[in-house]
Symmetry: C2
Subunit: 364 residues, 2 copies
Amino acid sequence: MATTLSTIPRDDGFFVPAEYAAHKGTWMLWPERTDNWRNGAKPAQKTFVAVASAISQFEPVTMGVNRSQFQNARQMLPLQIRVVEISNNDSWMRDCGPTFVINGKGDVRLIDWDFNAWGGLTGGLYFPWDLDDLVPQKVAEIEGIDRYKARIVLEGGSIHVDGEGTLLTTEECLLNENRNPNLSKKEIEDVLSAYTGVSEFIWLGAGIFNDETNGHVDNIACFIRPGLVALSWTDDHNDPQYPRSKDALDRLSHAKDAKGRSIEVLKIHQPDPVIITPEESEGVDSVDGTLPRNAGDRMAASYINFYMCNGGAVVPVFDDPHDALALETLQGHMPDRRVVGVAAREILLGGGNIHCITQQQPKG
Amino acid sequence: MATTLSTIPRDDGFFVPAEYAAHKGTWMLWPERTDNWRNGAKPAQKTFVAVASAISQFEPVTMGVNRSQFQNARQMLPLQIRVVEISNNDSWMRDCGPTFVINGKGDVRLIDWDFNAWGGLTGGLYFPWDLDDLVPQKVAEIEGIDRYKARIVLEGGSIHVDGEGTLLTTEECLLNENRNPNLSKKEIEDVLSAYTGVSEFIWLGAGIFNDETNGHVDNIACFIRPGLVALSWTDDHNDPQYPRSKDALDRLSHAKDAKGRSIEVLKIHQPDPVIITPEESEGVDSVDGTLPRNAGDRMAASYINFYMCNGGAVVPVFDDPHDALALETLQGHMPDRRVVGVAAREILLGGGNIHCITQQQPKG
């Protein structure tokens, strides 16, 4: 039975586990909107198939689809991937989907945050977002698990936890006036502590340059394990990303986690600038109210936007000279996982990457 | 994993169990189309809630909904009923839904029959029926069970099995030229034997008078247990139903089941004629291609269109003098079940009854 709970996870003994804890499976949503995905979303769909297929080597994957794409998605995806109807406005399961919590006794519940398409009527990326906002409840119904309704605007990609009491986020996103303008930083921390169970916050400043999510942390930095944070980096002091990454490095270097540990930082050098081509831009329908994809714009490419699954890590690559070192470095620091690269330019063209399109459901 | 099988259930050791065998749960679909359900489907929705609630006393219920009704259905239904998106053209899970098969070793699969809305372009009840036709596959995906795709037009409500090798059906429906005009009676029997596992057919002639399904058996007769068939009856020789029921009685009286047993018949007297009122007719949107609901038309009311669930039976009642005897008689012959009456006029107004809107998933 999927009850809607009016209590608070922390009070009930529940907390958000780290992504590197054991999963029951992965949830995704299928891309189709032609005002965001070029060429009728067909190239993106192929890439989503590649990502889902890679993850399904490691754990079960469920793909939520709008009814218009059910047959096509079922036909394109490998059989071991479950395809279910979950109507959506776009395909960013990390951000509109649920955040799962566990209590360490085998019970799993989920948090249903308010969702406003990364900024609502003040900079949101499309309108409306009504279907996206129902995704967590629909996942709860399918799985028959209880749901906490949290009255705060939050996307899953704007926070990372280490599973041991520490939360990593960015001021650019969480303090943005287009999310929760009536909450102070302290009030946001209080809500997040209550829902995720953390006791310590590490605030970075900004995210990746030109990231349309207002600087989601999951594109610039993530926990590899407690005490170790991977950070998107550039050695080019003239790159607009440099001051952002340098500031993040400084903040991480001075931070302590909830266990009192200093943070070790693993720099992952970013790919060379990835630019939207005229051909790519022309393949996207022009719709008022949806963020356009303009030729010449630099995209927020980062290797950090990867996804850890049971025994694996699926990492975006860009046919870039930095790809090999990124994969090698991550593999070196995750010896218990098999690191798999997936060519991800088509996801990036839609405004995010592999982490943004996935959401882990922890094992109970 | 929900594989689509090209083999035949009988060859794989699978067969259709009787409705009175143990269930894992019940599947339903939520009514909403305003060209079939009066007053925006609101009275029907209340009745579906009553039916689902009654069944959920006995076993788990899953309600499939179109996305437009997700929130309303979730709000109207008790919490213990699971609500999932299964897009549909109308709400007749018995007919467009899957027929489940088991192998007696704990495995469950399902049959996905072709569906043409009770007659396709020659007398079908609405157009299109594309979403209905996908319902079995979507159930298979949600449950992760294998699916046999059967290339024959068949609705679940047009057949009953006793679980011991006997199938009960009507010529009016199965031999209708709007279903499988290229198949002979013998060929239809061969296909049904292969898919359901039966070896003996009991063919009734016609179903209930004015039944828009072309005489589905599930409105006129059903197995109470092997060897015992309940039959909708009237003592009024001038009622147009009389020759239909009399013919069925004669055929049943001369039939043997697969085990060689004669069939005992339990007459259940029908309610008095149930007529569509002008007010009811006026509440239905007029749409070309959808069967109209005309004031003064007699509906195909029958107590036989009830549903057996674990330890229970949910029976339609009509605020009619015959209600009490029908419930009492059924209860007397199903001592291990609790018989529950649900006021079902609003379902009847849409063209069917409680059995038509339910589908059992057997226990593995």
